[in-house]
């Protein structure tokens, strides 16, 4: 086994960003992601790079907008309330087609909510979040190693597609420590050069304009159709998920992040008592593994969405299966974490139910 270190999720994200060549970090304090900002305040300066604790989340995301425009790797991080403030800037980044990596360590909402772990920002993460017709690639890691790995990959994809990439994690994954293999960053080698469009580069001959303003007649629609093409390519190539024990499954759970860890354990408990349960774990929340879900829906009668929100991902599962099977919901919220025994109880109930009945835990 390669050498492992015990590391917090938030710090693992920071270290992965440093390894991946993040040149500028801009952030503002908010629990439960504070360890990440704190880690960067030391590591970025040690590396001679840029760290600013900004005056607000709004300033942080706009500093990222500027840094991305001059062609360096940049990131910011926050939790729900701060991510809400950043949405304006993320929309501008998406409109101007700049690369950006950002992190949401989700906590309970709405409003100031609480600081407990949650997945309640699913809609915000996957449905745009800010204004306008755009998409963001969303990774949903489920352990410390994946937070490290998908941070590195996130920077690559941001550069490859010139798009905002979000690491959607939660207060448990951010604050927990787990063994981690500190892999070295490997440049994929085929990322497009930024030389043609970055600002402030004396080597470019013609002045460059980076903007999200397109006021000419039909100009914005044309641009948005172009973006859409890119999103379709991403949906085709970048969807990621993990399948566990699906071959003989009678009921399939769908869960990501922390919820997927618990669902997996519930799956094993259910199997121990003879119920053939399986798990599909989306790793990208956008693009969502809808094709695969549709295929599976033809083979099973029941799916169970397990999430730390009240039916947000459930909606996407139902959209994907398009009525081909029943989709039930196990949702917890505001710091409530699904428990294995409660999930297995619900699975038993589902297996004994008939007809069109949709069973929820609340």
């Amino acid at each position: 086994m390669s050498e492992r270190v015990l590391m917090k999720g938030n710090e693992a994200i920071g270290e992965a960003a440093v390894q991946a060549g993040c040149q500028c970090y801009f952030g503002y304090p908010i629990t439960p992601q504070n360890e990440l900002t704190a880690y960067m305040s030391k590591r970025m300066l040690e590396e001679g790079r840029v760290f600013i604790q900004s005056e607000s989340e709004i300033a942080a995301i706009n500093m990222c907008f500027g840094a991305a425009a001059v062609g360096v790797r940049t990131m910011t991080s926050s939790s729900g309330p701060g991510i809400s403030l950043k949405q304006e800037g993320i929309s501008y980044v998406a409109g101007a087609e700049l690369p950006l990596f950002f992190v949401n360590v989700m906590r309970g909402g709405p409003g100031l909510g609480n600081i407990a772990p949650s997945q309640a920002d699913y809609f915000q993460c996957t449905k745009g979040g800010g204004h306008g017709d755009y998409r963001v690639i969303v990774y949903a890691p489920s352990d410390v190693q994946e937070q490290y790995d998908y941070t590195m990959l996130g920077f690559d994809l941001a550069d490859r597609y010139r798009i905002p990439v979000l690491l959607a994690t939660d207060g448990i994954l951010g604050q927990m420590m787990e063994p981690l293999v500190l892999k070295k960053y490997k440049d994929p080698g085929d990322l497009p050069s930024k030389e043609a469009w970055r600002l402030g580069d004396p080597a470019t001959k013609e002045p460059i304009w980076i903007t999200s303003v397109r006021l000419g007649e039909g100009e914005l629609e044309e641009h948005n159709f172009k973006l859409q093409k890119k999103y379709e390519e991403i949906a085709e190539k970048e969807v990621r998920f993990e399948e566990i024990s699906l071959d003989d499954a009678d009921i399939v759970m769908v869960a990501y992040g922390t919820s997927a860890r618990v669902a997996r354990s519930a799956m094993e408990m259910a199997r121990a008592e003879g119920i053939k349960a399986g798990l599909l774990r989306p790793i990208t929340l956008w693009p969502f593994p809808e094709k695969r879900l549709r295929e599976i829906a033809d083979k099973v009668d029941n799916m169970l969405a397990v999430e730390m929100s009240l039916g947000q991902m459930w909606e996407d599962v139902r959209l994907a299966v398009c009525g081909a099977c029943r989709v039930h919901l196990h949702g917890r919220t505001a710091g409530g974490v699904p428990e294995e025994t409660a999930i297995v109880d619900q699975i038993r109930k589902i297996m004994n139910s008939k007809g069109d009945e949709i069973i929820r835990n609340f």
Binding site: G66, V70, T211, V213
Partner: protein
């Protein structure tokens, strides 16, 4: 024949679409002339803010980025920190700089960010059709203070230079005007000092320029200049508010 007046290289050969008597055209040109004089066009990045100058890219012949409303100082910070060899000009109006973007303005100044801020103060929101600005004078009428600005209800016009000048990160701060050839030249002198400060790494440099908006003021260009001189210059006193060299 000797050519004695021409377009700066840093200006595109375009006619501006600004209203007759608007100060933006003159100020754009001052910004561009200095870019040429310092020979920094290839590494200059201008910020086109939200407001009438959102299309500054059509006139400036160097790199331009469009910032969200009020966020220009944060965008400028990100660009300058990300690419320290760039020369960043943060061009903002009064609503952008002193209302929605006040926090970004103060903190960029306080960090002593190494870019030039050009603050165009015409005491009104131009692009959206003449609403009250943070710098609208007491008694002045606008679309959203139709009975005149009443400080008891709407607060007082902000003097930005006076507010920011004591922040330690500020290297240079001055207020000029473009109401007369003499003041245009003086304003250029202030801007030149701001550019050289930033190029020499001395810190945040800020020039406020008192300007006109004849259309939204509801005046002819000539009358607007008179109104500026008679009303604005009393509240917005011209001069240098901070100069780190003079202090040294």
């Amino acid at each position: 024949m000797e050519r004695i007046f021409t377009m700066p290289e840093a200006m595109k050969p375009e006619q501006t679409l600004y209203c007759p008597g608007c100060g933006h055209g003159i100020i754009h040109r001052l910004v561009a002339e200095l870019v040429d004089e310092f020979g920094i066009r290839d590494r200059t990045i201008g910020i086109a803010p939200v407001g009438c100058s959102v299309f500054a890219d059509k006139y400036w012949n160097f790199d331009v980025i469009s910032a969200a409303h009020g966020r220009a100082p944060a965008v400028a910070t990100g660009m300058k920190r990300g690419r320290p060899d760039s020369f960043v000009i943060c061009y903002q109006g009064d609503g952008d700089l002193a209302a929605i973007g006040t926090a970004e303005t103060i903190h960029a100044a306080n960090r002593g960010e190494h870019f030039v801020t050009v603050f165009v103060n015409n005491a009104i929101y131009g692009m959206t059709g003449g609403q009250m600005a943070p710098t609208t004078l007491v008694g002045q009428r606008s679309m959203t203070c139709q009975l005149g600005r009443d400080p008891a209800i709407m607060g007082y016009p902000i003097r930005v230079c006076e507010l920011l000048k004591d922040l330690p990160g500020v290297a240079f701060m001055a207020r000029g005007s473009v109401d007369s050839p003499k003041n245009v030249l003086k304003t250029k002198k202030y801007l030149k000092k701001a550019y050289s400060n930033v190029l020499e790494g001395k810190g945040y440099s800020f020039v406020e320029i008192v300007s006109t908006c004849p259309t939204n003021w509801g005046m002819t260009p000539v009358k607007a200049l008179e109104w500026l001189r008679e009303n604005m210059l009393e509240h917005y006193e011209l001069g240098v508010f901070r100069d780190c060299d003079a202090e040294a």
